[in-house]
């Protein structure tokens, strides 16, 4: 039996260069970077003093959280995720369920790597001071990883799956595929899928300690994130959230919903930390398998892919990623699809990267453009030797792509690849 068709009917985003979809779209079209200096990181003696984080006024939260929810709220990832999630729901033309009966056909799959780090820090201090009784009721709900799906599920009144997945930097892309699978199998009609990542020194410190963040661009933040560039020197830490309403085509048509794109399929796998794969590096064979399986399950050919939105973090692994795409697709030089990396504009939003980048990918499909990569005028020679320079655009241009592949790779040697297609009713 052929699986049911699954489409995207709503988008929401909290990105370093845009705190709603229209602002974000303008930024990616214009090449506006969201990377800026963060005084706190400098004061704490980080090597890297720059980061990408959504910029908004605290009063903005009143539109999304009630007074009780706001009391003692100290979880940036919760703020980003709730705003992006609620925006996506509204964008899809869905309403908040205010009846006493949950929506049994609607769920939430919203991933994160770690949640409420600042809240947890506050709790640790109180506990160590012997003041555990002073924690109040807000510590658990803000620091449990599933706090984000729990908040959203409760706000919306969802009665289907409400869960949080976690697979490092592939979390967001994985969440979309989990939603796709559940809907395609007929076990749900609508799922709010996405991911979020806290910001701040306690999230980024571990990466700074690994010396994988750039430290030579502290005075020039917008130049720091350089995916595919010869002068790439590490990923700029980022944060935010992306959200997508994933829905069965049946349900979307019944509601007369606007359809942004179709999900043809995808694949997730792991390299088992074997054969070159490790906790922090991908097994190339597994990456290629993941891409190939995504293509196969989507019922398309490698040649059908018009563009790629890569993982491409701006570390030394970028040329390897390009090589893996070339081999998986068996396409190179001028035959290679256009490729871009959102990280040049927002940094690496970690667990949120896959969902924010998927929002960017779908906007490209829906609006007919390919956004330019900034900071890679000096294409890495090992990339230049594999694909044509023009396949890595530095400026946004009009292009009506039919199919775009999006992949994310994460610590733990885990991979996720999803195939998005421009929606066509036939």
């Amino acid at each position: 039996m052929r699986n049911r068709r699954v489409v995207i009917t709503g988008l929401g985003v909290m990105a370093p260069n845009g705190t709603n979809v229209s602002e974000f779209k303008e930024s990616i079209i214009n090449g506006t970077s969201g990377i800026r200096g963060v005084e706190e990181l400098k004061n704490l003696k980080f090597s890297c003093h720059i980061a990408g984080l959504p910029n908004y006024n605290e009063n903005y939260l009143n539109h999304y959280f009630n007074k009780i929810q706001l009391r003692g709220l100290k979880a940036s990832g919760m703020e980003y995720g709730v705003i992006a999630g609620m925006d996506a729901w509204k964008d899809a033309g869905l309403v908040i369920n205010d009846s006493q009966v949950p929506r049994w056909d609607a769920g939430v799959i919203f991933g994160t790597g770690i949640l409420g780090v600042d809240k947890f820090r506050e709790a640790i201090y109180k506990v160590d001071e012997g003041n555990v009784r002073k924690l109040g009721s807000t510590t658990v709900i803000q620091t449990m990883a599933s706090g984000i799906s729990a908040f959203l599920g409760g706000m919306l009144g969802c009665g289907n799956v409400v869960t949080t997945n976690s697979s490092a930097c592939s979390t967001g892309t994985e969440a979309i595929l989990m939603a796709y699978d559940r809907i395609a199998a007929g076990n749900a009609e609508i799922i709010l899928a996405g991911s979020t990542s806290d910001s701040g020194p306690y999230v980024w410190g571990g990466f700074d300690a690994m010396r994988i963040l750039p430290y030579k661009y502290n005075d020039n933040p917008t130049k720091a994130s350089r995916p595919m560039s010869a002068t790439a020197s590490g990923f700029v830490p980022g944060s935010g959230a992306g959200a997508l309403v994933v829905e069965s085509l049946d349900s979307a048509q019944k509601r007369g919903a606007k359809i942004y794109a179709e999900i043809l399929g995808g694949h997730v796998n792991s390299g088992g930390q074997r054969n070159g794969g490790s906790m922090t590096a991908p097994n190339s064979e597994a990456v290629q398998q993941c891409i190939k399986n995504a293509i196969n399950t989507s019922g398309i050919q490698a040649n059908d892919i018009d563009a790629i939105n890569g993982h491409l973090t701006a570390t030394t692994k970028d040329p390897t990623e390009i090589k893996n795409w070339c081999e998986a697709l068996d396409r190179k030089e001028t035959d290679f699809p256009y490729i871009n990396s959102l990280k040049s504009l927002v940094g690496h939003c970690l667990a949120a990267s896959g969902s924010i980048e998927s929002v960017a990918t779908i906007l490209q499909l829906n609006e007919g453009f390919i956004f330019g990569n900034i900071n890679c005028e000096d294409l890495h020679p090992e990339i230049q030797s594999q694909i044509n320079r023009d396949q890595v655009p530095t400026k946004t241009f009009d292009f009506s792509a039919n199919i775009i592949a999006k992949a994310s790779f994460g610590f733990g040697d885990v991979n996720a690849c999803v195939i998005f297609k421009k929606y066509n009713s036939i």
Binding site: K67, I68, R71, K134, G136, S137, T138
Partner: protein
Amino acid sequence: MTTKEDLLLKLKTIITPYVQNQEGLENLNEGTDFIKDLEINSANLVDVVLDVEDEFDIEIDNEAMEKMLTVKASIEVIEGKLAAK
């Protein structure tokens, strides 16, 4: 010395953000039950107690806290703690 009216007023201010039944709040009296009449989420009762501690500069032990389910019981606990200061 805090009068009972003062105390009731302060308590009302503290519980207001947690109340889900506004009608119950408007009719607040000594017999009001936090959960039944005001529909305060039981998880939030600890937050009410912490706010009471801060407001009156007292410490409420677990045993006293378990009693604080109505306005009347809460006022008795607060008065007791204030008298013992």
